[in-house]
């Protein structure tokens, strides 16, 4: 009997993949646990001889084996969701066993590391620069330039070595590509980090993973142990976060590894010059480092540079999330429109109601209305539209969403997760919640009990009109945007002001 392949990705497990695998084993099948194809609405997805069945439950086992199942979706590789993608970073998704060194090697694994190590560090840097790869964590900074800065940074008595740090603190709602890569293809990330270490002259690396990802942590630790010989003398260690969203910001992440409060550091100095323990440090997102083995393969850099549009080169693993019918991972070249992603590929909302808004780029990303769905996926095009690509997560909302409530949530989230170091973020987020509550409640007639006290000389005694409150909100947003130390306070105004701009009716009368 042929082999049954079922994913052991966390999302498949959450949908019952373990019980399903056990049922196939009980029926006498050999079950192979592989990474996920990324078609999340079909998980748990069963693959037999290239043909898929999903979403499959224990009750479907007999029919699938008898060839009579109504869950059949045909050949997985020919499915429009898969066939339309250009998978470079996720080339192995669905195809290999995540912790099999054998599977990794036969699919081209370690070849790029060997090739890079046969080159001078300068030549490796040139390849990364040529590819046009930009940081996939959100800021989109050219990876090659960051690496070059670290490579050129001098060593000294207080900073005797260099580090490569992988930012795997994927806290943005609507994103899961880092998690899928760490769980599905951990060796690729490890190989990318080893190449980075060779290019910049580092011999120690850290992967900082959020504690909400227990499966990714376990897979990475196992993979590092298996690959230790392969990447030596480079050493790699997993560090686990502790539930602080702000530790996804690179300087607070470094503080966290150092055993400190995850407070943001002022920049400069850049981490590339004074990073972990004061040493020159490359800090890159999972997807950035995982793209490196492809770029360092024969001809990989020029292929990468040919994909995409303008200054956004290569492919982006886009994550379709929230209220969407066909959610999952869609890796494609830059330039694709939201309309194509949400309607053609995603099939509209899961609730079958009209799309009201999509949030691109996680909790700090702007809400985009359907009238702007022709926007091409491109760092600069989004910036021009007062939006951001961020980590490539797209969260879809149907027409039942209350955008005023979402704007309030953005401030409340910022208040809960602010590290507290800078005033605009720490205080501004709380004041923001209050102003939105006041606007939505129809304003305030006069002074409250405290404001009415005689010693409150400067407190305003009269009420505020809606226009005055809106002006106050805009002023607060501008202050946070320009005066916060990091993106948490600096970008929270994006979801707030975009919601207010496009859906003013959700903010009361």
């Amino acid at each position: 009997m042929s082999t049954v392949r079922i994913s052991d990705d966390a999302l498949a497990l959450a949908c019952g993949a373990d019980a399903l695998a056990a049922a196939f084993e009980a029926a006498g099948c050999t079950v192979e646990r592989v990474s996920s194809w990324g078609m999340h609405w079909l998980e748990p997805l069963v693959e037999i001889d290239g043909h898929g069945f999903g979403p499959a439950g224990v009750d479907d086992v007999a029919a699938i084996l008898a060839g009579t199942s109504d869950k059949a979706i045909g050949r997985i590789a020919d499915h429009p969701f898969i066939a339309g993608q250009q998978r470079l970073t996720f080339a192995r998704a669905g195809k290999t066993r995540p912790l099999s060194l054998e599977d990794y090697a036969v699919t081209g694994g370690w070849a790029s590391l060997a090739r890079a190590r046969a080159m001078t560090p300068g030549d490796v840097l040139a390849q990364v620069l040529q590819s046009g790869l930009r940081g996939r964590g959100g800021a989109g900074f050219p990876a090659g330039i960051k690496w070059q800065t670290v490579a050129n940074a001098p060593l000294g008595p207080t900073h005797p070595c260099k580090y490569v740090v992988c930012n795997a603190d994927e806290g943005d709602s609507g994103t899961f590509a880092d998690r899928m890569l760490m769980e599905g293809d951990p060796f690729q990330l490890i190989e990318g980090m080893a190449i980075a270490a060779h290019a910049v002259g580092a011999d120690q690396g850290y992967i900082y993973v959020r504690s909400e990802y227990p499966h990714a942590i376990a897979k990475l630790r196992a993979a590092i142990a298996l690959a230790a010989e392969q990447i030596a003398p480079f050493r790699l260690e997993v560090r686990v976060g502790a539930g602080a969203y702000v530790c996804g910001e690179e300087t607070s992440l470094l503080n966290s590894i150092e055993g400190k409060r995850g407070e943001v550091r002022a920049k400069p100095p850049l981490p590339a010059l004074e990073g972990l323990f004061g040493c020159p440090t490359v800090v890159n997102n999972v997807l950035t480092l995982a793209a490196i083995p492809h770029i360092l393969s024969e001809g990989g850099a020029s292929l990468y540079a040919r994909l995409g549009i303008d200054r956004s080169k290569g492919t982006m693993p886009i994550q379709l999330a929230g209220n969407i019918r066909r959610g999952g991972l869609y890796e494609t070249a830059f330039g694709i429109t939201l309309r194509a992603l949400i309607h053609d590929i995603g099939g509209g909302t899961a609730s079958a109601r009209p799309v009201k808004a999509v949030q691109v780029g996680g909790p700090l990303g702007a809400y985009i209305p359907p009238s702007q769905f022709d926007l091409p996926f491109d760092y600069e095009a989004y910036a021009r539209a007062d939006a951001l690509i961020g980590h490539g997560g797209i969260t879809v909302f149907d027409d039942s969403a209350d955008m005023g409530a979402m704007a309030r949530f953005a401030f409340a989230f910022c208040a809960a997760e602010s590290c507290g170091k800078c005033t605009p973020c720490r205080i501004g987020s709380t004041r923001g919640v209050e102003v939105i509550d006041r606007i939505r409640a129809g304003g305030k007639a006069g002074a409250d009990a405290v404001e009415a006290l005689p010693q409150m000389h400067n407190a305003r005694k009269a009420g505020r009109s809606r226009e005055e409150d809106l002006a106050l909100l805009a002023d607060l947003a501008e202050t946070m945007q320009s005066a916060s130390l990091c993106a948490l306070g600096g970008f929270t105004p994006y979801p707030v002001m975009s919601a207010l701009k496009h859906w003013p009716e959700d903010f009361g009368q």
Binding site: G171, G174, G322, Q359, G393, F413
Partner: protein, 141 residues
């Protein structure tokens, strides 16, 4: 905390330097269900830090708690993607089922954003929850 001896056993596995602090705190939280004042003092002594420095770190991170809560805990994701899939409508029923017996803790994102509402109990994950499934999950703890 069940005794200084076991704290010492945890500390012995780590180098006495500040960079060991987060891994130590994770171990202590897992072993005792909290990082209390006595543990903070013991860790501070081992790492040659002040207790204030250790307390500052403990109180910064959501994962570390000053007191143990022996109740079973359901971590329910209430971030944007799960909100878009209707998690807010499930909260009242889950809290009613939980009463004071089970703790319902809000978390922001379990990375299952295409298949929410999602929850986590220990290291076990649950997705595509509706009201009945979530209440059932709470009742079975």
């Amino acid at each position: 905390m069940s005794g200084a001896a076991s704290l010492d056993a945890i500390l012995a596995d780590f180098a006495p330097e500040q960079a060991s602090l987060l891994p130590i705190l994770h171990e202590v939280q897992a072993a005792f269900g909290c990082v209390d004042a006595a543990a903070e003092a013991g860790i501070a002594r081992y790492l040659n830090l002040s207790r204030a420095e250790v307390h500052g770190v403990v109180s910064f991170y959501h994962d570390f708690t000053p007191m143990a809560d022996p109740r079973p805990c359901v971590q329910l994701c209430r971030a944007e993607a799960c909100q878009a899939r209707g998690v807010d409508a499930l909260v009242a029923a889950a809290e009613a089922a939980a009463g004071s017996r089970v703790r319902i803790k809000t978390v922001y994102c379990l990375g299952l954003c295409s298949a929410g509402p999602a929850a986590r109990v220990g290291d076990t994950l649950y997705a595509r929850l509706d009201e009945a499934a979530l209440v059932d999950l709470v009742n079975k703890l």
